[in-house]
């Protein structure tokens, strides 16, 4: 357990001839702010306390035994009387493990608000979603939650929790992140050099007070964009003890338009037809307020008029930027079947080399697709076919070339509808091939 000791007023022996070292008792944390960077197992902890200093040199001890705190990152600074309180040095005493000591010179006697900041690992968060589609699979409600897990060895009581979406790569980038919102400030020279108290921090503090007044309301999670990152701030304060997890509702939106989208691609899923719910993270879809972090999705669908729900599937989504189209894969559906059939095969246009051996030929295949929807709702079906070599197709069916080797056929199917389409595939081999 980490402890912070400010030794009390009694004098200690000192080598400094003219200075008395004052060690002051420690009050509890005033505020704690956790900024959790999921991608790097890194959490920035910023705590403030009111310490009573004596005039002269004071000694402050910080211990991180049994926690996952990075000791090189520990920083101390005064928030009030900042020009009168100065850290003289930091020492790591021998024979006392996991402890450091600050010697702090104070020109004032009395209460000073200080901030202690450090990185710890062992705290992470994950998003999860619940999607509930209506019976016709045209609309759904989407609810998002975040779950914070604390295995850092330290209890964080009444903490303000902020979650960072986005990938951090280097410590320098965390520093950049920390200075966002304060334009005009030059970047601090070192990753952990304290930046001045910013508008962000103050705003956060005010926000916490407001939140405490309305404690019964479900907590709101405020989202702000920061360049390549996105910061989610959980409303109010939370106590997250070591070993505990906490799930907090993030948002809930109803009547998000969705398309029940079915895909078939042999190279990906064999003969199975896969089901997807497709929607857009934008304003028209009643979303688009923030990017959605990656997480697990539980999908349900109302199956009766009185909204009895059936479990459709569990899946996961990747990070969804604002405006992006999302496809949630929900496993295969056996009520939609596709039977590709090779109906005709011909070997034509033989060519011979100078030895009289055949070295060029063309294969012409006729494929028939029988698609059937046995569901009681209409669907969109997306069939993809991959072709290799010098190929060309001829068909009356509406199709679209996806890339050099892929063609897609998209067809709407009504409830209980059966359709058939064909295409003729010509592939040139050997010397017949021109690509």
């Amino acid at each position: 357990m980490r402890t912070l000791l400010l030794f009390s007023a009694l004098c200690l022996l000192t080598t400094l001839a003219d200075a008395r070292i004052n060690v002051v008792t420690l009050p509890g944390r005033d505020t704690v702010q956790l900024t959790i960077y999921n991608s790097a197992d890194l959490t920035m902890v910023k705590e403030t306390r009111f310490l009573t200093f004596r005039k002269g040199v004071n000694k402050l001890e910080f211990s991180w035994a049994n926690t996952l705190i990075d000791p090189t990152s520990v920083e101390f600074r005064a928030l009030t009387q900042a020009d009168k309180v100065e850290v003289l040095d930091v020492s790591f005493p021998p024979r006392v493990t996991n402890t450091l000591e600050w010697r702090i010179n104070s020109e004032v006697s009395g209460e000073v608000q200080v901030e202690i900041r450090y990185f710890t690992s062992g705290i992470n968060w994950a998003a999860d979603y619940v999607a509930e589609a209506n019976k016709a699979e045209k609309l759904m409600s989407l609810a998002g939650n975040v779950r914070v897990n604390n295995n850092s060895g330290e209890d964080y009581e009444n903490a303000q929790v902020r979650l960072v979406v986005g990938v951090i790569r280097l410590v320098e980038e965390i520093r950049q992140l920390a200075q966002q919102g304060r334009p005009g400030q030059p970047p601090p020279p070192a990753p952990c050099t304290p930046a001045p108290v910013g508008a962000m921090f103050k705003a956060g503090a005010a926000f916490m007070l407001a939140a405490e007044a309305a404690a019964d309301k479900p907590k709101e999670i405020v989202k702000e964009g920061m360049s390549e990152y996105f910061l989610y701030t959980v409303e109010g304060r939370d106590t997250i003890l070591n070993g505990w997890s906490k799930r907090l509702p993030s948002f809930k939106t109803t009547e998000v338009p969705i398309v029940s989208y079915y895909k078939f691609e042999r190279e990906q899923w064999g003969d199975q037809v896969m089901r997807f719910y497709r929607f857009k993270n934008d304003k028209e879809s009643k979303l688009g307020n923030e990017p959605l972090p990656d997480g697990a999705v539980m999908a349900l669908r109302a199956v009766t008029a009185d909204n009895l729900c059936a479990f459709v599937g569990r899946t996961s989504v990747k990070y969804i930027p604002i405006g992006e189209q999302v496809e949630m894969e929900l496993g295969n559906d056996r009520e939609v079947t596709i039977k590709p059939k090779l109906m005709d095969w011909q070997k034509l246009d033989l060519r011979y080399n100078q030895h009289g051996d055949p070295d060029g030929w063309t294969i012409r295949e006729t494929w028939q697709f029988e698609v059937q929807n046995s569901k009681d709702i209409g669907i969109m079906l997306d069939i993809r076919r991959n072709f290799q070599g010098d190929w060309s197709i001829k068909t009356d069916a509406k199709n679209e070339k996806v890339d050099a080797h892929k063609v897609k056929f998209v067809l709407p199917l009504k409830s209980r509808e059966k359709q058939t389409f064909t295409y003729e595939l010509t592939t040139k081999y050997g010397t017949n091939a021109t690509r």
Partner: protein
């Protein structure tokens, strides 16, 4: 039995039949239209094949019999005694109604004569 959605056909295999007897013979298997390379090796040919199928129904009822034939590669039917359905590129089906007690001289005979074209002996039989 696999999941059968509504409106779908369901087939149940209920065992072997002993009262319907089928004897199938290939009665001709010739290579034609031989194409040779400069070393006089045959590198490509067509075929002329004929199959004769004799069917006897010992039952006291008429039955429906489906005969499935597989023909690999690029082929064309030259002559068939009965109407057939092409199920896919390498499969044809005869659906026959066998009258009751058609045995001996009254047996049903199906003959089919097809040619396979541009054969190199590497033709696909399935896909």
């Amino acid at each position: 039995m696999a999941l059968t959605p509504a409106d779908r056909e369901l087939k149940l295999f209920i065992g072997q039949s002993r009262d319907v007897k089928v004897t199938q013979r290939k009665v001709r298997d010739d290579k034609t239209n031989l194409r040779r390379n400069n070393s006089n090796h045959v590198v490509l040919w067509d075929t002329d094949e004929e199959i004769k199928i004799e069917i006897e129904n010992f039952k006291k009822d008429a039955v429906t019999l489906v005969i499935v034939e597989h023909i690999p590669g690029y082929w064309k039917m030259v002559k068939s005694s009965h109407e057939f359905k092409k199920k896919d590129a390498f499969t044809i089906e005869y659906e026959l109604t066998l009258p009751k007690e058609t045995t001996g001289d009254k047996k049903t005979i199906v003959t089919l004569n097809y040619t396979r074209l541009n054969v190199q002996n590497n033709e696909p039989a399935s896909y």
